[in-house]
C-alpha cells in the first residue's frame, strides 16, 4: 500500500497527515517554546496541552518572514511529529511537501537535504499552496465555476504574508503573484504592542495574544462608523470586551470574560438594530457591576478591555499604509495580480476568488474584501469571493487529494534520482 505523508509546512502551523484521508492527523504549531520556569523546550503538540503554563515562554521558530531559515530546528520538529504523532517510518513513505512561493534556491537545497539525507524519504513532491487550494475547491464542486474553467485566484492570507496568486490548469502563474508582507504574526504583534501600551504588558505572551486575536478581532465593514461607536461609554459601546489573562493557579489559559459581550458587534450589521439590542438581554444584569471604563479596569485582576483594537488590528491587511508600510492593501494586491495576467483570464479570475489561510478567519473578512474590491474592478466583471469551509486545512486537503491520485508516483522525485542529479535539477520537475 502506497504510503504518502502530506505535510503542509506553514510558518505558523504544521498540518501533517496521510494522503487520501479527509483531515490531517496533526495540526500543531511549528515552533518550540520554553516556559520561564523550566529548562526543557516544548515541541509542537506539547504546546497545545492545557496543563502547560506558557506564560512568558521563549519562542523559537524555524521560519523567518515566511521562509525556512533554520533546517536544524525544523528537523527536530519534524522528527517529533513523524515519530510521536504520525507514527510513520520515513524510509518507507513518500512525502508531499508544501513550500511558500518564490522560495530561494539555497533554502530549497537545504529542504532537499533534510528530506532525503536526514529523513531518507523514498520520494518527494513539492507543491505550492495556491494550486493545492485550487485543487480542493475544484474537487468540491465538480460542476462549479472553478472546475469548469480550471482557473481561480487564490488569496492566501497566512502567518507571515499574504499572496494573491492566479492559478490556471492547476499551475500557479508565478508571474502574476503579488505579495503583501503582512500576516497573522504581524497582526498578533501589533495587538501585543497596542495592549501593552494601553493596559497590561503582554509583550511576552505570544500564545495568549494569538488566542485574543482569534476570539475577539473582527473586520469592520465601516471603520468611520465603528470608531464613533467604540468611543461611546457604557452599554452603547458594542465593541468593548474584557479578556481575562491566565493567573497560573486556577486557569492556565486566558478566556473571554463574557462571550455574549464579544458577539454584540454582529448586531450592528445593518446599522438599524443598534437601539433594539439594548432591551433584549436580561442576562446583562449580572455584568453591570463590571468596570465601565478602560481606566477603571482593575489591573490586579489581570484583565484588559478591548474596544477599537478589535477591528483596527485586522484593518491593517486592508490598509497597510496606516501602519507606515509602503505597500498597497489586499484589494489592490488582488487587482494587480489579475492585471498581470492575460486579459482573457480577467473575468474568470474575478469570478472565482478563493480565500484561504488562517488570517481570513476574521469574521466579515470576505464581506469587507468584496466591498473594497468592487469599486476597483471594472463594472462589467462580476466579483465573487468564496471562503473555504476550513481555511487552515484547505491546502492540506488539496494535498491529500493529489497524493491519492493515480499519477502521483510519476510526479515524484525519488531518492535515487536526487542522489544522481542533485537538488537543482530535481527541482525543475516541479515546474516552479
Amino acid at each position: 500500500m502506497p504510503n504518502v505523508v502530506v505535510l503542509d509546512n506553514g510558518a505558523g502551523l504544521v498540518k501533517a497527515g496521510i494522503g487520501g484521508e479527509r483531515d490531517p492527523i496533526a495540526v500543531v504549531p511549528n515552533c518550540m517554546a520554553r516556559p520561564l520556569s523550566s529548562k526543557k523546550w516544548l515541541l509542537a503538540d506539547q504546546l497545545l496541552s492545557s496543563t502547560e503554563d506558557l506564560t512568558s515562554a521563549t519562542l523559537r521558530r524555524p521560519f523567518d518572514r515566511g521562509y525556512l531559515i533554520n533546517p536544524d530546528l525544523q528537523s527536530t520538529l519534524w522528527s517529533h511529529i513523524f515519530t510521536t504523532l504520525l507514527k510513520i517510518t520515513p524510509s518507507q513513505s513518500s512525502l508531499l511537501l508544501t513550500e511558500p512561493l518564490f522560495t530561494l534556491p539555497s533554502i530549497q537545497r537545504s529542504v532537499d537535504e533534510l528530506v532525503f539525507e536526514e529523513f531518507n524519504f523514498k520520494s518527494l513532491f513539492v507543491s505550492d499552496c495556491p494550486s493545492l487550494a485550487h485543487l480542493y475547491e475544484a474537487s468540491r464542486s465538480p460542476y462549479g465555476m472553478v472546475s469548469k474553467t480550471q482557473c481561480s485566484l487564490v488569496v492566501d492570507c497566512g502567518f507571515s504574508f499574504t499572496h494573491a496568486a492566479p492559478v490556471f490548469q492547476n499551475f500557479t502563474l508565478n508571474y502574476g503573484v503579488k505579495r503583501l508582507d503582512l500576516g497573522g504574526k504581524a497582526l498578533t504583534n501589533y495587538l501585543k504592542e497596542l495592549v501593552s501600551y494601553r493596559s497590561v504588558n503582554v509583550m511576552d505572551e505570544s500564545f495568549t495574544m494569538d488566542d485574543v486575536k482569534e476570539k475577539l478581532c473582527f473586520v469592520s465593514l465601516d471603520v468611520a462608523r465603528d470608531l464613533q461607536i467604540a468611543r461611546k461609554k457604557g452599554k452603547d459601546n458594542h465593541f468593548r470586551c474584557t479578556y481575562v489573562l491566565p493567573d497560573g493557579i486556577t486557569h492556565t489559559k486566558g478566556f473571554v470574560k463574557d462571550p455574549d459581550e464579544a458577539n454584540r458587534y454582529l448586531s450592528l450589521g445593518d446599522g438599524a438594530s443598534v437601539l433594539s439590542e439594548r432591551k433584549d438581554d436580561p442576562n446583562q444584569l449580572g455584568v453591570i457591576e463590571k468596570p465601565e471604563d478602560r481606566r477603571t479596569v482593575d489591573l490586579s485582576k489581570n484583565e484588559f478591555s478591548l474596544t477599537n483594537e478589535r477591528f483596527i488590528v485586522p484593518e491593517m491587511i486592508f490598509r497597510p499604509a496606516d501602519l507606515g508600510m509602503n505597500q498597497a492593501g489586499i484589494a489592490a494586491c488582488i487587482l494587480r495580480a489579475v492585471n498581470s495576467c492575460h486579459p482573457f483570464l480577467h473575468p474568470v479570475l474575478y469570478k472565482s476568488i478563493i480565500l484561504t489561510g488562517g488570517s481570513t478567519r476574521f469574521p466579515q473578512f470576505a464581506e469587507r474584501l468584496e466591498k473594497e474590491l468592487r469599486p476597483l474592478v471594472p463594472a462589467k466583471y462580476p466579483v465573487n469571493i468564496s471562503s473555504q469551509e476550513d481555511p487552515i486545512l484547505g491546502v492540506w486537503r488539496g494535498g491529500s487529494l493529489l497524493a491519492s491520485s493515480p499519477d502521483f508516483d510519476a510526479m515524484c522525485v525519488t531518492k535515487a534520482e536526487y542522489e544522481e542529479l542533485g537538488s537543482a535539477r530535481c527541482r525543475r520537475r516541479f515546474l516552479h
Binding site: 531559515i69 518564490f102 503573484v177 503579488k178 497596542l194 505570544s206 509602503n326 505597500q327 498597497a328
Partner: protein, 172 residues
C-alpha cells in the same frame, strides 16, 4: 581626494557587512522619523519581545565595562575552554541566518527582468498616498501630530499621556 585614491590600495577588512536592505535604507535616510517607523515595522516580525535584544550581548564576553565583572569573567574563563577564532567562526556558520541575509546572498537583482522572483512579487506602493492616522494613545482618529517625534494624538489628554510616556521613545 588623495584619501580616496589610496583607499583602494589600502588593505580592507574582509569581514562581510551584513545589513538588511530595510536597515540600510533607514540608515541612509537622515530622517530620524523614517528610521523609527522602519524599526517598528521590523519589530512586528519578531518572535520574542525581549530575546532579540539580549542575544547580541553574549557573543562578546569582553565588552563589559565593570571591573568586578571582568575579574569574575576571567576567573570563569580559566575553567571553561576559551573559544578560538576558528571555533567562533564555525559556530557562526552553524547559527541560522536571517531571511534577509539569505535574500541578499541569493542576489535576485541580477536576474533578467522577466523572471518572476521574490522581489518582483511584492505588491508595491499603494496607488493613493492618503493615509488614515490613528491616535497612538487611544486609537481613535487623530488630528494632531507631536512636534517633537511625529506620532499622532487626538486630544489634549492623549497629548499629555503621550508626552509623559513614549514621546521620543522611538526616535531620539
Amino acid at each position: 581626494m588623495d584619501e580616496d585614491g589610496s583607499s583602494s590600495i589600502r588593505r580592507m577588512s574582509t569581514r562581510a557587512r551584513k545589513i538588511a536592505p530595510k536597515m540600510a535604507a533607514a540608515l541612509a535616510s537622515s530622517d530620524n522619523r523614517t528610521q523609527a517607523i522602519l524599526a517598528r515595522l521590523d519589530a512586528l516580525e519578531n518572535d520574542n519581545a525581549a530575546i532579540e535584544t539580549v542575544q547580541p550581548m553574549d557573543d562578546d564576553d569582553e565588552a563589559s565595562l565593570d571591573d568586578d565583572d571582568q575579574v569574575y569573567q576571567k576567573r570563569q574563563s580559566k575553567g571553561t575552554k576559551r573559544k578560538t577564532r576558528q571555533a567562533k567562526a564555525l559556530e557562526a556558520r552553524r547559527a541560522p541566518r536571517t531571511f534577509l541575509e539569505l535574500l541578499n546572498e541569493a542576489n535576485l537583482e541580477s536576474l533578467p527582468s522577466h523572471v518572476p522572483s521574490y522581489l518582483r512579487a511584492a505588491v508595491g506602493p499603494p496607488s493613493s498616498t492618503s493615509r488614515r492616522h490613528f491616535c497612538t494613545v487611544c486609537g481613535f482618529t487623530a488630528t494632531y501630530t507631536c512636534v517633537q517625534c511625529g506620532m499622532r494624538f487626538c486630544c489634549i489628554r492623549c497629548q499629555t499621556i503621550h508626552k509623559d510616556t513614549r514621546c521620543l521613545k522611538f526616535v531620539a
